[in-house]
């Protein structure tokens, strides 16, 4: 009985540590407060990293207008397509010196302000 309890307890602790680790380092199980831009932000693989980048954007326009522009650009397509189209069309933004597709920069900026 006692041995079983120790094994069960150890297992529970390990599972907890793993869950916290996954939450902390992969974003799995992460839950964010709802924002008006969740339809867009859901296209990001790693919202925390995008937010870290977005915090260095210096020319943040009104977030709602940015989101509206992004929705128009992305439409029913994907961020991947919008980003590639931006690059082809020369619609580039600079964030902390990084040359980015405008849609990626806008997405990062929204993540930072969400």
């Amino acid at each position: 009985m006692r041995r079983r309890a120790v094994i069960a307890g150890t297992g529970a602790v390990a599972a907890g540590v793993a869950a916290v680790g996954l939450w902390r380092f992969t974003g799995l199980f992460r839950r964010y407060a709802p924002t008006p831009y969740d339809d867009l932000l859901s296209q990001l693989d790693d919202r925390d990293r995008a937010a870290l980048l977005g915090r260095h954007a210096v020319d943040m326009a009104d977030a709602r207008m940015t989101a509206q522009e992004l929705r128009t650009r992305i439409g029913k397509g994907s961020l991947a397509k919008a980003a590639f189209d931006d690059v082809q069309a020369g619609r580039m933004s600079e964030v902390d010196g990084w040359i980015l597709p405008r849609s990626v920069a806008q997405m990062a900026t929204l993540a930072a302000h969400a």
């Binding site: 990293r49 980048l53 991947a80 980003a83 580039m92 980015l100």
Partner: protein, 504 residues
């Protein structure tokens, strides 16, 4: 068999009457002398130094400067001149380097690159940079030594440097040592070492060179022996600073200095600035062929290194200057950089799990600026010649234009899904923080058909003085970003052909 004569051993007052006097034994002077080997011209080459470095001679280069580096540190005053410490980087100038560009004030040569094409092969041979490869064959040759980074379609393309031979630990071709035997074997040539030209003396009507004053450095530091040379023709080939200095100090007949009626001698000085760590380039795959960050021996004497440069067409369209961006060393990204890579790569659907980053540096073309200038100071050297006072600057516009080029490179890397780029410099302080210089002294005796806009004409003749010519990069009216040595040698070989005609 010619002779190398130490002028200090000659009796004072020795006179010579060569057909041609070449002042300066650097790459231009040596290339010119050798190119005239097959003529009947009696040539005297006057070199200020000896065969090796001498601190007392070198000290005559000292002067004042602002915005630059010590003037006795970035040149070498002995046979071979600048090739005694050059890095061996070679690349022909681009077609647009020669064009009058309306977004580059005072730009434009009197002729296009086509005028130099016939002389490039011989110039390439003299600098011993292997088979002419560059952009004609660089991609194909490099591809057999590792995959090229795909930079995508756009204004920037991969270009190639070649290198003066570096065999093991042997430095690039040093013209003095490399060609000493050839010069000695040249029957129509005499080389005077330790012979300093202290004045170019015009005839009273200022229409021709009458004679040259020459002096040696005395054992106690002042003037030693003195000589008079009366050549039919003279070519000044002392480098971009000394060419201007000698014309300015020779002011006994033409008070502003020879060729300086339009107040252009010494103006428009330029170098190729080499700011380091200007950008960070991330390669998503993490692999970069070795010919990007290092010179790579491709066999058969051809050493290549890749660089990124704006095409002629895009330079015209985007109104940028010449630049050559090179990969320097691997760097580690900070957290924001990692976030930028992860976010962008994920958005583009690219695996960047093995991404690596490299620092980028560059060589830049400066916009011609008349206020960047060589003048004479009140101080004098051991022979009594006024020393030089150099004012050097870089405009914010020079940096802004290069920033446009870097942004285009960044866009293209994303377009090809090969990588991405961060521009590391925004403020002037950031650009200047890691600034090196190419020690390419350009522009101070600029070439233009109009005597109001140039010191020399398209044949490198000093306007109004038909028996005086200038050789070297001081006659470049606009500069490009390519290293000048191989180009100035081609230009000098062209001058040699011209002299064969006019002196025949």
């Amino acid at each position: 068999m010619s002779a190398f004569i130490d002028a200090r051993t000659l009796p004072s007052g020795t006179a010579q009457t060569p057909d041609l006097a070449i002042i300066g034994g650097g790459p231009a002077g040596i290339a010119l002398a050798m190119a005239l080997a097959d003529t009947r011209l009696k040539i005297l080459l006057l070199e200020s130094g000896g065969m090796n470095f001498d601190p007392a001679v070198q000290k005559m280069y000292a002067g004042q400067q602002t915005g630059y580096e010590p003037l006795d540190g970035d040149r070498l005053r002995y046979l071979g001149g600048g090739t005694n410490h050059w890095g061996g980087w070679c690349r022909p100038m681009d077609e647009s380097d020669f064009e009058a560009r309306d977004w580059v004030p005072s730009s434009g040569w009197p002729f296009g690159r086509a005028a130099l094409e016939p002389y490039f092969p011989r110039a390439q041979s003299l600098v011993e940079a292997g088979v002419w490869t560059y952009d004609q064959g660089g991609n194909a040759l490099a591809a057999s030594h590792g995959p090229m980074l795909q930079v995508g379609k756009g204004g920037i393309y991969t270009t190639w440097f070649q290198f003066s031979k570096m065999r093991g630990d042997v430095l690039p071709t040093q013209f003095g040592h490399r060609y000493a035997q050839d010069l000695r074997a040249q029957a129509n040539l005499t080389v005077w070492l330790n012979a300093n030209v202290t004045g170019i003396r015009l005839a009273p009507n200022a229409a021709s060179v009458d004679h040259l004053d020459v002096a040696t450095l005395g054992p106690s530091g002042g003037a030693g022996k003195q000589f008079t040379i009366r050549p039919r023709y003279t070519v000044l080939a002392c480098g971009g600073i000394e060419n201007a200095r000698l014309l300015l100090v020779s002011n006994d007949v033409m008070k502003p200095g020879i060729g300086n009626r339009a107040d252009l001698v010494g103006r428009y000085f330029a170098d190729n600035p080499i700011p380091r760590d200007v950008a960070t380039m991330v390669v998503f795959s993490g692999t970069l062929a070795p010919y990007y960050a290092n010179n790579r021996d491709m066999g058969h004497g051809t050493i290549l290194r890749a660089a990124f440069t704006p095409s002629d067409a895009w330079r015209r369209q985007a109104r940028v200057g010449g630049s050559l961006t090179t990969v320097e060393q691997p760097v580690t990204l900070d957290d924001v950089g990692k976030a930028a890579v992860a976010t962008t790569a994920a958005a583009l659907g690219v695996d960047a799990s093995g991404a690596r980053a490299w620092s980028l540096g560059c060589g830049l073309e400066l916009i011609p600026d008349p206020e960047r200038r060589v003048r004479l100071s009140l101080e004098t050297d051991a022979l009594g010649l006024p020393r030089v006072k150099l004012a050097n600057t870089i405009s914010d516009e020079d940096f802004a234009r290069y920033r446009t080029t870097l942004a285009e490179l960044g866009r293209q890397l994303l377009a090809s899904k090969a990588g991405m780029l961060r521009i590391n410099c925004t403020t002037r302080e950031e650009w200047m923080k890691n600034m090196d210089w190419g020690h390419h002294h350009l522009g101070t005796t600029r070439m233009h058909d109009d005597p109001r806009r140039g010191v020399v004409d398209a044949n490198a003749m000093v306007h109004g003085v038909p028996n005086l010519y200038v050789a070297g990069s001081s006659i470049f009216p606009s500069y490009g970003a390519s290293n000048p040595t191989m180009n100035l040698i081609a230009l000098t070989l062209r001058l040699a052909d011209h002299l064969k005609t006019v002196m025949a």
